[in-house]
Symmetry: C2
Subunit: 448 residues, 2 copies
């Protein structure tokens, strides 16, 4: 009898899991269910529809219905998983037509994602606070701009907050970002690198207020202002970008254990503590390759990689997830910002003694026109001399440098080895001495 | 007494050697001598002056006189090293004023570079054949275009030949490239990848004739046509891009041994077989990290890395050159072409059994505007499953992918490890699944 694979969630990790399972098991009955109406779209693309670079939200759909048909995946949209019975191996679902139904699984993959989070401050239940998580959320923001919103307060200077801020400025909206931390992108960057990015954003007109804790949402039923560190800010739009939290309600209700990060605990097979139940993507806890601590990085690339591992295992072929370096990249106006591994702040927190090599360079030969600035910061573990992190901010060619350092970290490359690396050079593309190599040289000097 | 370091040659590797020696030995007397008039310029930049991207040849000078003064380097231009006496440790030089003089060295670094080469065919001594090696060569080509040359035959479809071809087309010259090999860029690429590049070049108007051996240079004193595989080709300009050969005359005359490649034999310290005499850059033989065979890759990045090693050693601090992967990159019109490690052809020649993973992908998310094509070809050693080479052709973001694979090769990453790599993703910069990772997946399928 063909085995039954049920996947709860039908975005990045869920669909990847389904596809991987299908590749390994040609006969399995694979069912994906999601409470969303539109499935298989790229969340990471949402800011670019708001900015106008992409003309319509529906263009973000990367998996059209034909994809599900081709792979013989049974897709149930607007369907909610109510509870999981892990003993009986069933899921109670509520369909679009409001019927409840019990479906059986041999392998279950939970890909319920994450949801925007507002801290428990006064007034946090007020209407009118916007988020950017789904297409529906994006449509609301777009509608607000179209109906005349001219100013916005964004609460949070993480990736989503800043990408949203850029998009709004590109639509002509005045943007003020309020951040609790002493610098922007506090998860990705150290203060020195964040400052570089902040200067660029401010230069483009983004107002950024740091060390400001949002204390209260003001207004009658509907938000009309916020209070942050004692000061009241008014605007036409209020956007919550405090971050997202793993969506674990179903798991908790079904007795599937969470981990330290309050995301669903998983093994290296992406299996939860309950046999034959996997968890992947933004709702799943995983381990960090450097700190070996549990983390929940909530990145699209991690989601698809985990989905593939869980789907492969569900399909009957052993696959292991090696952990994350949380390599991340974004473009904010004309600059690219990337990081991989750990930063100095994280190293200190984990009692890892490090040396740092930073270098400012150019993206083309010095004499070549339209060369842009780039800064590379390498984090090196003092004891092992291994590279354990990097942050790069530059006008172009940042992404693949982050990937290059990610490969180096994965293979435990020492800073001495990086200083000897064989890099490619041509005047329109880079300098003779690759900045990553120069940063390694600088770190080396501190080790000698 | 301060030691005397003499460096013959004052471009990429020579100046790098001098700079490295100065860093390690603050008191040494460091002398650079060169027969060129203009020193410290970027040869790799020459095609871009011809194309007009860079307005003047003098802009290519990356080391101005002030640099030599700052580092207290004694620079003798238009000065020829006539012979080296390795017993007495002296160099007989001929200065600009035509005086001969003997200078003493404690450490000598030979950085005499390479020179354009024409095969010994009939008529190869005829006047009017142009090359592109020095600024003077570049000025001659520029002058020919300015005085009305409308068509050009380029002999050789290697890096220089094609970069020159692109530059000439950008100046409105009709270009025909004649290549002996069955595909273009025969050192860098396999036939399948070369074909992709060729199509793009032809699309831009470059005429490319393969499998054509230049048999004769025709004309009275001056070239007026060439004969290739029996056919006669006429044009206004004739450019030799057959390749370059290590400039070893001085070394040979001084009893310094050459290696298998007919370049100067060196150890991993970049020392020749003669004590205290080093050789670096385009005149020096080195070893390949994959084949462990002697090679002379004649690349700018290799030159500077070797210069640094020799200079550091001459300055009294031990430094080793690890060998080369010959990572190389070029941009030809709108496409970037890169390679690192070995290609399939080279693997076959070296009896290395390989599997290949190739993938065509995009440089941005599918829905993101102005996404460009990219193709990644990975070469994997079957036995060890290690990545030993890559070729990438794409509209953008090729260089740092080549560097990423170079790091992977240096650290003996297996294709299984690459398939699990933690890559960064954002819609304006790449696809969720990084093409390098997908290429690894494809290679893996052939290993299973």
């Amino acid at each position: 009898m063909p085995q039954k694979i049920v996947i709860i969630g039908a975005n990045a990790s869920g669909i990847e899991a389904a596809s991987a399972a299908r590749k390994k098991d040609r006969t399995a009955e694979i069912t994906l269910l999601t409470n969303e109406k539109i499935v298989g779209y790229s969340r990471c693309g949402l800011p670019f529809v708001i900015s106008g670079v992409i003309s319509q939200f529906k263009e973000l759909v990367v998996y059209p219905p034909a994809y599900f048909q081709m792979l013989k995946l049974n897709l149930l949209t607007q369907t909610t998983a109510l509870t999981i019975n892990t003993t009986e191996k069933t899921v109670l679902i509520q369909t679009f037509e409001d019927a409840t139904k019990t479906i059986i699984y041999d392998k279950l993959i939970i890909a319920t994602g994450a949801e925007p989070f507002i801290p428990s401050i006064k007034g946090n239940g007020k209407l009118g606070i916007l988020y950017l998580r789904s297409i529906e959320d994006g449509e609301k923001i777009d509608a607000a701009i179209k109906t005349g919103a001219k100013s916005a307060i964004i609460m949070g200077a993480g990736l989503i907050g800043l990408e949203l801020g850029v998009a709004l400025i590109e639509r002509g909206v005045q943007v003020t970002v309020v951040e609790m931390a002493p610098h922007i992108l506090p998860q990705m960057l150290d203060a020195d690198m964040a400052k570089l990015v902040q200067e660029q954003l401010e230069h483009k007109g983004m107002k950024i207020l740091l060390n400001r804790t949002v204390e209260e949402i003001l207004g009658e039923d509907k938000v009309s202002a916020i209070k942050a560190s004692g000061e009241v800010f008014t605007a036409d739009m209020f956007l919550s970008a405090f971050g997202v939290r793993a969506n674990t309600k179903l798991a908790v209700a079904s007795g599937i254990p969470l981990g330290e990060t309050r995301a669903i605990k998983t093994s290296s097979s992406m299996e939860t503590d309950v046999k034959d139940v996997y968890a992947v993507g933004d709702c799943a806890e995983t381990s960090h390759l450097i700190t070996h601590k549990p983390v929940c990085p909530q990145l699209g690339t991690v989601a698809v990689r985990q989905g593939k591992v869980a789907g492969t295992n569900a399909g009957g072929v052993n696959s292991q997830f090696i952990g994350v370096l949380a390599s991340a990249i974004t473009r904010l106006f004309d600059i690219e910002v990337g990081s991989t591994g750990i930063n100095e702040t994280c190293a200190i927190k984990n009692h890892i003694e490090v040396v740092v090599g930073s270098i400012s360079s150019k993206t083309k030969a010095d004499y070549y026109p339209s060369s842009k600035s780039i800064k590379v910061k390498l984090i090196v573990e003092k004891k092992s001399e291994q590279i354990i992190g990097a942050q790069i901010v530059g006008g172009e060619e940042v992404t693949q440098r982050i990937n290059a350092i990610s490969f180096a970290i994965q293979k435990q490359m020492t800073v001495r080895e990086l200083a000897k690396a064989d890099t490619a050079y041509a005047p329109p593309m880079n300098e003779t001495w690759e900045p990553m190599v120069l940063a390694a040289e600088i770190a080396l000097m501190k080790l000698r």
